[in-house]
Structure formats: structure tokens, C-alpha cells
């Protein structure tokens, strides 16, 4: 029963976030000075065109009415049509979402695969060669911009060595390089966090007990300490995944991937209001959903949070 109330609370929070974001998006666009219809129509437009556009946007109706209309649309996941291409915004987003999702998941996977083992190694063999290398890697990873890395990888592996394709989005091979660019930068942060967390856990009293019980060092480190050390790492990894799902705009540009990032970027360039509206809400929902899942995962791993 307690678990149900826990889930209910988390879901409630999720819905509330979505509501708030939708409201914020709605008002921001309408409160900004200037008539969106006029902006869309352009400088040379005449009154008739502007009025038509306004009718299409629905901005000629009273504010409260518009808001209700907006909320209804959000619930139906119908964000209207793109002002530029005329296609339904929802469809545009959904077409590109799988790519972005794959990219993000692959990116996180790579970063976790790099960060966890290296982080644990650094913690366990503190001040050794491995630790120094790990810290160096972490510093570099945080300093290097991911797009630079992306371009370098492209040059080296795609152009020079022809190991990977240059652009396109057909299959997995197209995703490896961009995922690596994303992943390495994230790995740098996760590695440091893993190391710190692991070091802290290893200095706790229950580790003394574990050793006093005669457990092997392996059991002490991995079964006992690591399990606790992973908690903050998982939280941060989850948040990073959330960011990536919003579309890694720069990487998508570098690798010419038709993902969400590029879609939204062009939407902004072209002042495609409906697309931007829909996009913002979508990203917010996805991000909240990820946080929700991370919360659940966290509570699974940390028994203390679970029921209370």
C-alpha cells in the first residue's frame, strides 16, 4: 500500500510539472510584446494576411479561451500544425524521436561503460597510475567541447580511415560516432562522481564490518560498497539522459542527423511557433518522465527511500 501511495505521489508530481510547463509556454509566447501573427506574416504583409494568420493561430480570441483550448490540445497531444511545413507537429516530433532516443541511449551506455569501471578502479587504487590516468581523462573530457570531439572523430575515423559513414541515419553505424562524442563528455563527469562516491563509501563503518567478517576484498568492494556508491551516479546519469533526449543539437548538426535537436533548431530559426510550443512541452514531458523513472530506480536501489 505504501508503494502505491509513493507511485501516486510521483505521478502526481509528473502531471503537475507538465501542467506548469504547458502554462508557462502558453503565456510566454503571448506575453512577449509584438503580435506573433505579424511576425510570422513578415514585414510586407498586409492586414488581411495578418488577420488570417491570427485566426489560424487563434490569437484573436480571448486569452482565457485560448488557454483552455491549449490545455485541451496538450492533453490530446495535438500541438497543431507546423506553420512552415503544414504538417502536424506531433507527427514531426514522433518521426524524429526514435533516432534521438537511440542516440541518447547509446550515448549514456557508452558513458556508463567508460565511467563506472574507470571510476571504481580510480577509487580502489587511489593515487596510483590508474587513478592519475583516470583523473586526467576526466579533466580532458570535461574541457573538450563535444562538437570538437565529434569533428575530430569524423575526420579521423570517417574521412581518413573510412571506418564509419560520414552522414546519414540508416543504421547503427551512423550512430556510433555521435554517441561517442556525447558519451565521452558525459563519462568525464560520471567518472569523477563514481570515484568520489566509491571513496566515500569505502570509508564508512559497514565496510569495516564487512572486512571483519572475513569477506573477500571483491565482495567488500562490489557487493557492499559499490551498491551504495552507485546511487548518486545513477541519479546523475538519469539527468544526463534526460538532457540528451531533448536533442543533442550540436552533435546532430555535426553529424547531419535528422533528430529532434535539428528539428527544434530550425523551428526557432523559422519562427515556427506551433512547432516550438509543441517541442518545448514535449521535451519537458520527456525530461520529467526520465526523472520519474530515475526516482523509481533510485528507490529500488536505496531501501531507505522506498517506503517512507
Amino acid at each position: 500500500m505504501e508503494i502505491l501511495s509513493f507511485l501516486a505521489r510521483k505521478t502526481g508530481r509528473l502531471l503537475l510539472t507538465v501542467l506548469l510547463i504547458s502554462t508557462l509556454v502558453f503565456f510566454v509566447i503571448r506575453i512577449l510584446p509584438g503580435d506573433p501573427a505579424a511576425v510570422i506574416a513578415g514585414i510586407d504583409a498586409n492586414e488581411e494576411d495578418i488577420r488570417l494568420i491570427r485566426a489560424r493561430l487563434g490569437t484573436d480570441r480571448p486569452l482565457a479561451g485560448q488557454y483552455i483550448e491549449w490545455l485541451k490540445c496538450v492533453l490530446r497531444l495535438d500541438f497543431g500544425d507546423s506553420l512552415i511545413s503544414g504538417q502536424p507537429v506531433t507527427r514531426l516530433i514522433m518521426e524524429r524521436f526514435p533516432l534521438t532516443l537511440s542516440l541518447a541511449l547509446l550515448g549514456i551506455l557508452i558513458s556508463v561503460l567508460i565511467a563506472l569501471p574507470l571510476g571504481v578502479l580510480s577509487a580502489v587504487r587511489r593515487w596510483s597510475v590508474y587513478d592519475t590516468l583516470g583523473m586526467l581523462f576526466s579533466q580532458l573530457g570535461m574541457a573538450i567541447p563535444s562538437f570538437w570531439l565529434g569533428i575530430m572523430l569524423l575526420l579521423l575515423l570517417a574521412v581518413k580511415l573510412r571506418l564509419f559513414p560520414l552522414f546519414g541515419s540508416g543504421d547503427l553505424r551512423h550512430l556510433i560516432l555521435p554517441a561517442m562524442s556525447l558519451g565521452v563528455a558525459r563519462a568525464a563527469v560520471l567518472l569523477r562522481l563514481t570515484r568520489t562516491s566509491m571513496v566515500e563509501e569505502l570509508s564508512k563503518e559497514y565496510v569495516i564490518t564487512a572486512r571483519a567478517k572475513g569477506l573477500t576484498e571483491r565482495m567488500v568492494k562490489y557487493k557492499h560498497a559499490l551498491k551504495n556508491a552507485l546511487l548518486p551516479v545513477i541519479t546523475v546519469a538519469g539527468i544526463q539522459l534526460g538532457y540528451m533526449l531533448g536533442g543533442a543539437i550540436i552533435i546532430e548538426q555535426v553529424f547531419s542527423l535528422p533528430g529532434l535537436g535539428r528539428l527544434f533548431l530550425f523551428g526557432v530559426y523559422q519562427r515556427d511557433f506551433t512547432l516550438i510550443q509543441g517541442g518545448v512541452v514535449f521535451v519537458a514531458v520527456v525530461f520529467s518522465l526520465i526523472n520519474f523513472l530515475v526516482d523509481i530506480l533510485y528507490s529500488l536501489l536505496n531501501p531507505r527511500i522506498r517506503v517512507r
Binding site: A212, G214, K227, R304
Partner: protein, 334 residues
């Protein structure tokens, strides 16, 4: 009864390099202990006296960069633990020499159930499969005085009360029938009524499993209730060692006597407590000669110059390290 543990002249120091300055602090300056099966030997001292370091050394868990054993032997069943490899020591830990700690909340892993923490030990040391080791864990919880064993097995430490946690820790420690049990302030964090239950449980188990218990405490009242033999440690040295009755009836060392006289209870109503002036010296600033001399009402010149050796007095293994034994006390109410 078989002698399980003999500690000879154990000395431990810690080095600390801070800002280029190396400081060395003496945690233990040559202590001797002995323990037989079915005997409870209490090691009494205040914080910083070295009692926990002693336990850590016997377990072989002294963190070796800052800590180092300067000299001495720790003989367990005639094997010198200090000459064993880490692998050999690990085999003994938990299996033959076990330890329970002061604050079970901190010393239990919060991410594993109580039952699992017991089961893994039994499975490892006794080579049992999952089902058998789980059953054994349940039996051990019952032995430790818990009734809802299944419930406790499945619970995480934070879901258990203080007493239940401590019993779980005891179940863990005795799980492989160790010969030697080290109890480091096991009841200090517990309420008085719980304290009594846990002490009785320990004594019970001691008999049942024929263990020798090294009981570390700062509480003389508790020591009086459980110990067979008592050693008093001050600034890394044993200043007095005697069978329990003798220590409480006729303490020899001034520190012991002052300690006993400073404990309040109903019978002392109306009388001022004998407070020992000053504080326990810490590892880097141990006074020369007899470490206690700056605080000792009986101190004389020789106490400043020369460290007193431990000498036997009377029969029955009562020894004390003091130059002034036999000197008359003036106002001490003992």
C-alpha cells in the same frame, strides 16, 4: 581452559604527514593481554587510550599507511598473527576471530537485508549453498534472541530497532562459531534495559559456544557485570590488570582508584566526586616517565623520569605499573 590469545608487548604508532611535517603518535606502547576460552577479559579505558586500536590489530585491520606495528606478538592458538599473510588472516576473520561494534546502525550495510549480511558469511566460510545458508541465518537470529526471524531476515537495517540491529550483528559474529569474540563497546549506544539483555545474551553465547571474549568498554559498571578479568589501559599502556573482584575490591593503580571514585551513584550522595584533573593525553603528546604523572596526586620525581614496569602484586595475576604502590592516600574515599 585453553589459552586462546596472548598479546606480548604490542606497540603501534601512527605517522601523519601534514604540510611536510611528519608527526608520529604512539597509539599503543607495549601492551600484554591474555584470554582463555569461556573467559571474558575486559579492556577498560577512556577515549584515546588505545583500546579500539588493540581490537583492530588483533583483527588484522589496522589501516597500514598511517598505522604501523612497531613491535610485539599477537598469538592466537600459538600462531603469531602478525607473521601471517593477508590471505591467511582473512581466513581467520569471521571464522575464528569475530567482532561486534558499537553503533549497529553505522556498522551494518544499509543496502542489504539483515538476513543477507548473515547468510553471506556462513555461505563463504562454511561453503554452504544458498538455501542452507539462509536457513542457518534464521537459526542464528533465533539464537540471538529474536522471535520474528523471517521478518528480521527480510528487513533492512533502518527498519529494525536498535536492539534488533545489535542482535543481528551478534548473530553475524557468532555465525561460524568463532573461538574468539571481540566486543567493542557493544552496549554503549543502547538503553539501560536493552543493555542488560544484550550483556546476558553475550554471556549466554560465550558459555554455549565456548568462546573467549575480549570486551572493550569505558563503562566500569558494565565491566563489573560481565568480566572475569580486567585490564585498565591508559595512554597506550596497561596500567593495571587483575581478576574482576580484586580490581574492584582493591585497586592498586592511582588511575584505577580515581576512576572508581569518580563514578556517581546513590551511595555517594552528598560527597564530592573525585574528578581527575586534566585530560587523557593524545598520541603525540604523551608525557615522559609515567604517562599519568601530571594528573596523579601521588606523583613524585621518579614518576617523571622513569616509566614504571608492570609488576605482580599478591597472587592471582594482579599486576600494576606504578612506582607509588603502597603509598598512603590522604582523602580518597574508596
Amino acid at each position: 581452559m585453553e589459552t586462546l590469545l596472548t598479546v606480548n608487548d604490542l606497540a603501534v604508532h601512527f605517522t601523519d604527514s601534514r604540510r611536510g611535517i611528519r608527526t608520529r603518535s604512539e597509539a599503543l606502547r607495549g601492551i600484554d593481554l591474555h584470554l582463555k576460552r569461556e573467559e571474558v577479559h575486559a579492556l577498560v579505558g577512556e577515549s584515546g587510550s588505545g583500546k579500539t586500536v588493540t581490537a583492530t590489530c588483533i583483527m588484522g585491520l589496522l589501516p597500514s599507511p598511517p598505522g604501523r606495528i612497531s613491535r610485539g606478538r599477537i598469538l592466537y592458538k600459538d600462531k603469531n598473527l602478525l607473521t601471517l599473510t593477508e590471505g591467511e588472516r582473512r581466513q581467520l576473520r569471521g571464522r575464528e576471530i569475530a567482532m561486534i561494534f558499537q553503533e549497529p546502525a553505522r556498522y551494518l550495510n544499509p543496502a542489504l537485508t539483515a538476513g543477507e549480511q548473515i547468510r553471506e558469511m556462513v555461505a563463504l566460510h562454511l561453503g554452504l549453498d544458498r538455501r542452507t545458508s539462509a536457513k542457518r541465518a534464521l537459526d542464528l537470529l533465533r539464537l540471538a534472541g529474536l522471535e520474528e526471524t523471517r521478518q528480521v531476515y527480510r528487513s533492512y537495517p533502518h527498519e529494525l530497532s536498535g536492539g534488533m540491529k545489535q542482535r543481528a550483528m551478534i548473530a553475524m559474529a557468532i555465525s561460524c562459531r568463532p573461538a574468539l569474540l571481540i566486543a567493542d563497546e557493544p552496549t554503549t549506544a543502547l538503553d539501560v534495559t536493552l543493555q542488560q539483555q544484550i550483556l546476558e545474551l553475550l554471556l549466554n553465547l560465550k558459555q554455549r559456544l565456548s568462546m573467549g571474549v575480549l570486551f572493550i568498554s569505558h563503562d566500569l559498571g558494565v565491566v563489573d557485570a560481565v568480566a572475569d578479568h580486567v585490564s585498565v589501559i591508559y595512554a597506550g599502556k596497561i596500567v593495571e590488570s587483575a581478576p574482576r573482584k580484586a580490581l574492584f575490591a582493591s585497586p592498586l593503580h592511582p588511575y584505577t582508584r580515581l576512576l572508581l571514585a569518580s563514578i556517581p551513584d546513590a551511595s555517594r550522595r552528598g560527597h564530592r566526586l573525585e574528578a581527575i584533573p586534566g585530560t587523557v593525553p593524545q598520541g603525540e603528546h604523551i608525557p615522559g616517565g609515567c604517562a599519568f604523572h601530571p594528573r596523579c596526586p601521588l606523583a613524585e620525581e621518579i614518576c617523571r623520569r622513569e616509566q614504571p614496569a608492570s609488576r605482580s602484586h599478591g597472587k592471582d595475576g594482579h599486576s600494576a605499573a606504578c612506582h607509588m604502590i603502597g603509598k598512603k592516600w590522604l582523602h580518597l574515599s574508596n
